[in-house]
C-alpha cells in the first residue's frame, strides 16, 4: 500500500530469483494465525538498520531487481477474524513503508506477486491486477481466516484492479484506502473513510528529489563515454592526456547534475508544459553560467551551449516517467518534436567541437 511517486520499483523482465531479501518475521504466536493449517508469518512494524540501508541502496539502483518479499498472507500485531485485510505489492520497499505505518494496529496484510514492482507501476503493468488478487485470495484461503468480506487496497492500485470484478469472483468487496500508507491509521480510525486530501497524489520536492539518484545512475554510462571521448581526442592531438580533457569535461558533468537533480527540483517553476522545453531553458541557463565563469572560443562555446542544452533537455524529458501527472499521449506528442530537435542540436554541438579542435 502506498507507492512513493512513480519511481518504478523494479523489473518484471528480471529473472525470478529466490527472494533474496527475506523480511524478518517472528514465529507464530497468534491463536488466529493459522490459514488452513499453515502458519501466517508476522511482520514487525519497526525497520531494522538493514531495511533502512537496503532502502537507500535500491534508490541508487543497487539490488533493485531483486528487492522482493515472498507473496502471501502476513499478520501485523495480533489480528483476529474481524480484523481488516490490507493489500500491497511485493516490492520490499512498499512492504517496509506499509508495515512501518501500521505500528500498534492488528491487521492482515495480503502481499501480491508484482515481481518486485511498487503498487502504482505494477498496477499500470497489470501485475497488481484483478487476476493476481483473485488468485492470491484463493491461494491463501483468506475466506477461512476472516469472517468479514472486505479488502482495503491502496488507491493507486485501482489502475490495475476492477473492484466490481473481484466481488463476484471471490465474495470479497474491494474498498480503496488512502494513496499514502502513512494515512492508513487515520483511515481505519475514521471507519474506512478517506478525506479528499488522502485521495490526492502528492508531488512535493521531497518526492521528486528521492528519484534523482536513479536519474544520475542512468546517466553514468553516457558520462563515462563523454569523458573517454575527451581523453581520446586529447591523446590524438597532444600525444598525452592533459588537464584540458578534464576541464573540458566539467560543463558536461555539470549538465548531468543539473538535468538529474536541479530539473526535478525546479520542475514547477520552469516555463512551459513541455518537459523538453523546461529542460532546454535550464540547460541554456547552465551553459550561459558556465561560459560566464569560464569564457572560451566561439566554436567551443557554441558546442558547449548546444550539447549541454541537449543533455539537460533530454534528461528532463525522461523524468516524465517519474512524475505523477504526465499523460502517455502528451509524452508521445512532445517526443515527436523533441527527439529530432535534440539529435540535431547535439549533432551540431559535436560538429562545432570537432571544428574547434581542428582550428
Amino acid at each position: 500500500m502506498g507507492t512513493d511517486a512513480r519511481g518504478c520499483g523494479s523489473g518484471s523482465s528480471a529473472p525470478r530469483r529466490a527472494f533474496a531479501t527475506p523480511i524478518a518475521t517472528r514465529p507464530d504466536e497468534s491463536p488466529h494465525a493459522q490459514a488452513s493449517g499453515r502458519p501466517v508469518p508476522a511482520l514487525d512494524t519497526s525497520l531494522t538498520w538493514r531495511d533502512i540501508v537496503g532502502g537507500w541502496l535500491v534508490r541508487w539502483g543497487v539490488g533493485r531487481m531483486r528487492y522482493r518479499v515472498e507473496p502471501g498472507l502476513y499478520r501485523v500485531g495480533q489480528p483476529g477474524r474481524r480484523s481488516p485485510v490490507l493489500v500491497t505489492a511485493n516490492y520490499k520497499l512498499s512492504v517496509d513503508v506499509v508495515r512501518s505505518a501500521l505500528a500498534g494496529l492488528d491487521v492482515w496484510l495480503l502481499v501480491l506477486d508484482t515481481h518486485g514492482v511498487n503498487v502504482w507501476c505494477a498496477a499500470g503493468k497489470g501485475t497488481f491486477g484483478t487476476a493476481e488478487l483473485v488468485r492470491r485470495i484463493q491461494e491463501t484461503n483468506l475466506a477461512d481466516v476472516v469472517d468479514h468480506r472486505r479488502l482495503i487496497l491502496p488507491q493507486l492500485g485501482a489502475v490495475g484492479v476492477a473492484a466490481h470484478e473481484v466481488k463476484p469472483a471471490t465474495g470479497f468487496s474491494v474498498g480503496y484506502g488512502p494513496v499514502l500508507a502513512r494515512d492508513i491509521p487515520a483511515y481505519l480510525a475514521d471507519r474506512m473513510r478517506a478525506t479528499p486530501a488522502m485521495r490526492r497524489v502528492p508531488f512535493r520536492w521531497t518526492n521528486r528529489l528521492v528519484l534523482a539518484p536513479m536519474e544520475l545512475v542512468g546517466a553514468a554510462k553516457p558520462v563515462l563515454g563523454i569523458l573517454l571521448a575527451l581523453i581520446a581526442l586529447d591523446v590524438i592531438r597532444h600525444g598525452h592526456v592533459s588537464a584540458h580533457a578534464f576541464t573540458g569535461f566539467l560543463p558536461y558533468l555539470g549538465a548531468i547534475l543539473v538535468g538529474g537533480v536541479m530539473a526535478p527540483l525546479l520542475l514547477p517553476w520552469l516555463p512551459s508544459r513541455s518537459f523538453a522545453l523546461k529542460g532546454a531553458c535550464l540547460g541554456l541557463l547552465w551553459a550561459a553560467g558556465w561560459l560566464w565563469l569560464a569564457p572560451t572560443g566561439l566554436l567551443e562555446g557554441a558546442s558547449v551551449i548546444l550539447i549541454t542544452t541537449a543533455i539537460v533537455s533530454f534528461m528532463t524529458l525522461t523524468f516524465t516517467g517519474a512524475t505523477t501527472f504526465t499523460t502517455l499521449s502528451g509524452v508521445r506528442l512532445e517526443m515527436r518534436y523533441a527527439v529530432p530537435a535534440l539529435m540535431t542540436t547535439a549533432g551540431a554541438g559535436i560538429l562545432f567541437a570537432v571544428l574547434a579542435m581542428i582550428n
Partner: protein, 93 residues
C-alpha cells in the same frame, strides 16, 4: 499543481450510463470527478493524467479514456521494439 500537455484530452464520460456509484471519484488521484445530482461529472479535466483507474473501476462502462503511463523512456523502448508487441510499457520495470 502542475499541468501537462494534452491532459485529459481523451477522457469521455457518458452520463446516461452513470449509475452514480461514485467509484470514479474515489479512485481518481487528481480529483477530476465530482458528484452532482447522483451523477458523476468531469470537474477538472486539466489535471487528468489518463491513468485509467476510473475506466477500470466503472461498473457501467460509462468512462472511456486512452490510458497509459506518461513515461518518455517507455515510449523510446516502444519505438525500438517490434511495434507488433503493442503499447508502451514502463522501462523502469
Amino acid at each position: 499543481m502542475m499541468r501537462y500537455l494534452l491532459a485529459g484530452h481523451s477522457l469521455v464520460l457518458d452520463d446516461t450510463r452513470c449509475n452514480g456509484c461514485g467509484q470514479c471519484v474515489e479512485v481518481c488521484p487528481h480529483a477530476v470527478f465530482t458528484m452532482a445530482a447522483h451523477k458523476a461529472q468531469i470537474a477538472s479535466r486539466d489535471t487528468c493524467m489518463e491513468c485509467g483507474a476510473c475506466q477500470k473501476n466503472c461498473p457501467e462502462a460509462a468512462i472511456v479514456v486512452s490510458a497509459g503511463v506518461g513515461c518518455a523512456v517507455a515510449v523510446i523502448n516502444e519505438m525500438r521494439r517490434d511495434r507488433s508487441q503493442g503499447g508502451a510499457s514502463c522501462a523502469c520495470g
